[in-house]
């Protein structure tokens, strides 16, 4: 407890302070301080508590629920107000319902429930804290310069940086809370704050599109919150359980409990943008990039899967387990398929986030040790790589003025640094020795062992498709576009610091994954499941993977002397004999000189967003309903 307070309080203080700042200098100072503080504190915290599970009981602080309720009232009030004034009544209704329910429950029903360990920080919470602290901190650090440039490039938007940073830190504080609380009502409170922050940041630019998308996100998240609340209320009233630890001890044969679990899981699914709720995450991409990075890929959406991991012991081979796993599987495939037809880098990232979250959800809900291992590994790798990718896309946008993948050809020529980071980030997402693939490997093993053939097939197809869209992006970056002009590299120190640290983390975490596995994940699984368990990737394979990694970094170095020794004759590219001589254009028809343009394939005819979205939603809904009907009532 003692040290948890600094983490949250520190973030809150920064959030408060930065709200009233006006000048770039002040922002720079406070945000840097805040970021550094968050990073350092979370690491210190993790190191200090590495070997013990921190628990804390709030039973002596009964009063705490009143300020919490008051704050929730405030939030609800705000949401209802915004909803009504923008004619988004659904939001208002959901929010009101939710608040009414939780208030009724807490004020009248909660008394007879005892919560043991309101705060319970085990290995996985620790891991989440590290991710939130380090990755989140780096993102905050990055955003200082980014936001400056952002407003420089977009003079049409009102400069509300104070507000922006403030929400960012508020969110960080909420996230810390979210992963620490064992008590579901308190967790729900943090959950709401994250939804609200997301809403505020998506609507940051106040354009119509932004506001609309913000509301879409809010509707979905509040709906998720509502489901969560209902789940909590059911659990509380039926089983007198309000914390995850006790929840785990419940039998998973009880229909009512399982219904509640399913509802909570739905909360998780909304937050992690699973089908059919994924639409909001795409809309969220209108927000400034750092907020997309932190909220919509690295941390907030992870809250959803975190929740499902917490629920995992009750899932598995039962109706909610299958449903959630299936939803995850479908989302995995849907996200991957949709990413093919996108050319906006952020959209690709968004779809790929959706897709990866799907895989995590699937793994988490299988409730086998290997699957859990894979899920947690995926969270780690994904958080780092995606944060890196988002930030790099942000920088790229500022360097070349566009985040269209097609305009990234020859990015290597423009900025070595940015493209290196981009390459590492992309490689981290799918190429062999890198992290995501390791986890996928474990996931595959888990899927086979648990006999989930359908999902296995989905994974086989989904992974393939994933590879397609990443590779073509990668191809664009490294394409030597014969681009002689070099744009000045305008990367600032903060940007560089966070980009490089994240890149390094991608590599280090990947090479060091056996350690993470050994010291964090395996103990967690052993504790939780009470079984003896070791990493699903056997040591020989790990060695080979690390060897591949080394080779990947050493080979280029070997080639350097070879290059100096063997000078190839440069040659122009083949253009059927019509080259004008500069490799950039050819003599075209009508006597004109055409410049070479190469566009990747998007197959928009096949991978139509609307079509697939409705199909995937329909499948998910039908399967969900069937399994609920089948699982609960038959």
């Amino acid at each position: 407890m003692s040290i948890m307070i600094p983490l949250i309080v520190f973030s809150l203080v920064i959030a408060l302070v930065v709200r009233f700042m006006k000048t770039q200098k002040a922002f720079a100072f406070t945000v840097r301080l805040g970021a550094a503080g968050v990073i350092v504190l979370s690491i210190v915290y993790a190191v200090c508590n590495f070997n013990n599970v921190v628990t804390f009981d709030l039973s002596n602080y009964e009063w705490i629920k009143y300020p919490v309720l008051a704050l929730e009232l405030l939030i609800t009030g705000y949401i209802v107000f915004r909803g009504i004034s923008s004619k988004k009544f659904l939001v208002a209704i959901f929010a009101t319902l939710q608040f009414g329910l939780i208030a009724w429950f807490e004020l009248t029903q909660e008394n007879n429930i005892t919560v043991k360990n309101d705060i319970y920080i085990d290995k996985i919470s620790l891991l989440m804290i590290l991710i939130i602290g380090v990755v989140g901190g780096l993102i905050c650090l990055y955003s200082v310069e980014y936001m400056k440039a952002y407003h420089h490039h977009h003079p049409e938007f009102e400069d509300r940086r104070g507000f922006f940073f403030s929400v960012l830190f508020l969110f960080t504080a909420a996230m810390f809370g979210l992963v620490m609380f064992n008590n579901m009502t308190l967790m729900l409170f943090c959950w709401e704050i994250t939804s609200l922050s997301s809403f505020l940041l998506i609507g940051y630019t106040k354009t119509d599109e932004a506001v609309n998308n913000a509301f879409t996100a809010l509707v979905v998240n509040v709906f998720g919150g509502l489901c969560f609340t209902i789940g909590i209320v059911i659990l509380g009233m039926h089983s007198h359980v309000l914390d995850f630890n006790s929840l785990m001890n419940l039998s998973n044969n009880n229909t009512v409990v399982m219904l509640a679990v399913l509802l909570i899981a739905v909360g998780g699914l909304t937050k992690s943008a699973q089908m059919p709720f994924s639409k909001w995450l795409l809309g969220a991409m209108v927000a400034p990039t750092p907020s997309s990075a932190i909220l919509h890929s690295s941390t907030m959406v992870k809250a959803g899967v975190y929740l499902i991991i917490r629920l995992a012991p009750l899932l598995g081979s039962n109706a909610p387990g299958y449903t959630v796993a299936f939803v995850g599987g479908i989302t995995f495939m849907y996200g991957a398929f949709m990413a093919i037809s996108q050319r906006d880098a952020k959209k690709i990232l968004a779809f790929s986030t959706i897709s990866n979250l799907g895989l995590i959800v699937t793994c988490a809900s299988l409730n086998t040790p290997e699957a859990l291992w894979a899920a947690i590994m995926l969270i780690v790798f994904h958080a780092i790589s995606k944060a890196l990718l988002f930030l790099t896309v942000g920088s790229t946008e500022h360097q070349i003025g566009s985040r269209d993948v097609e305009s990234m050809d020859g990015l290597v020529n423009v900025s070595k640094a940015v493209s290196m980071c981009l390459i590492i980030g992309i490689a981290g997402m799918f190429i062999a020795p890198f992290g995501m693939l390791i986890s996928k490997w474990a996931a595959i093993k888990a899927l086979i062992d648990s006999g989930n053939i359908i999902i296995l097939l989905i994974v086989a197809f989904g992974s393939t498709v994933t590879m397609f869209f990443w590779t073509k992006w990668l191809g664009k970056i490294i394409a030597n576009a014969h681009n002689k002009k070099k744009i000045d590299n305008t990367l600032r120190f903060d940007e560089k610091a966070s980009l490089f640290s994240l890149s390094a983390m991608v590599v280090i975490v990947c090479a060091g994954h056996p350690l993470i596995s050994k010291y964090i994940i395996t103990p967690y699984i052993q504790n939780n499941m009470g079984i003896n368990f070791s990493s699903p990737i056997d040591p020989v394979a790990t060695t080979i993977i690390i060897a591949m990694m080394c080779v990947l970094f050493i080979l280029p170095l070997i080639f350097v002397p070879l290059y100096h020794a063997h000078k190839e004759k440069p040659s122009s590219i083949y253009m059927s004999g019509e080259n004008t001589g500069d490799d950039e254009s050819f003599h075209g028809s009508l006597g004109q000189v055409q410049s070479v343009e190469l566009q990747n394939w998007y197959m928009q005819g096949i991978f139509k967003e609307v079509k697939w979205c409705s199909w995937a939603s329909a499948i998910v809904l039908v399967v969900g309903l069937l399994s609920i009907v089948g699982g609960f009532f038959l």
Binding site: K569, S571, Y574, G577, E578
Partner: protein, 142 residues
């Protein structure tokens, strides 16, 4: 061991000629003449080719094309001019849009006569070109 004689890949360009020689070049690839016996492949890509089989008399427009194709071929390379069009412009040499033989643009190593050149003559020309390639390679090495 030098392999260029055992695997000469050809590029075929057909400029301002009638198709006579062109189809005879193609005929060389077909079962009756089957130049793949000698490892000859019609690559269709200057960057892979060793021998440029050219059946054109050039006009203004073809000049840069032919030059470029020739430049893009890696050394050692040889040029075989097939048909009298490619040699001198043949029957078209008095046309206003014909510049004459291909040697106006790039150096030619072997000329194959005939209008149209017979596949046998073309094979003969290619075989001669192999000798040229060989000596060019030697010259390169020195």
């Amino acid at each position: 061991m030098n392999m260029i004689k055992k695997s000469p890949w050809i590029l075929h360009y057909d400029g301002s000629s009638c198709n006579g020689c062109d189809i005879e070049v193609l005929a060389c690839l077909t079962p009756l003449y089957d130049v793949e016996r000698f490892g000859i492949i019609n690559t269709g890509n200057p960057k892979h080719a060793d021998i440029l089989l050219i059946t054109v008399s050039v006009n203004e427009q073809n000049i840069p094309v032919v030059k470029q194709l020739y430049d893009q071929m890696p050394n050692p390379k040889a040029v075989v001019a097939v048909g009298i069009c490619a040699a001198t412009g043949g029957i078209f040499k008095e046309c206003y849009n014909v510049m004459g033989g291909i040697d106006k643009v790039i150096p030619v190593d072997v000329y194959v006569p005939g209008c149209a050149a017979r596949p046998e003559s073309i094979i003969e020309g290619v075989v001669k070109a192999l000798g040229v390639l060989e000596s060019k390679r030697k010259a390169n090495e020195e």
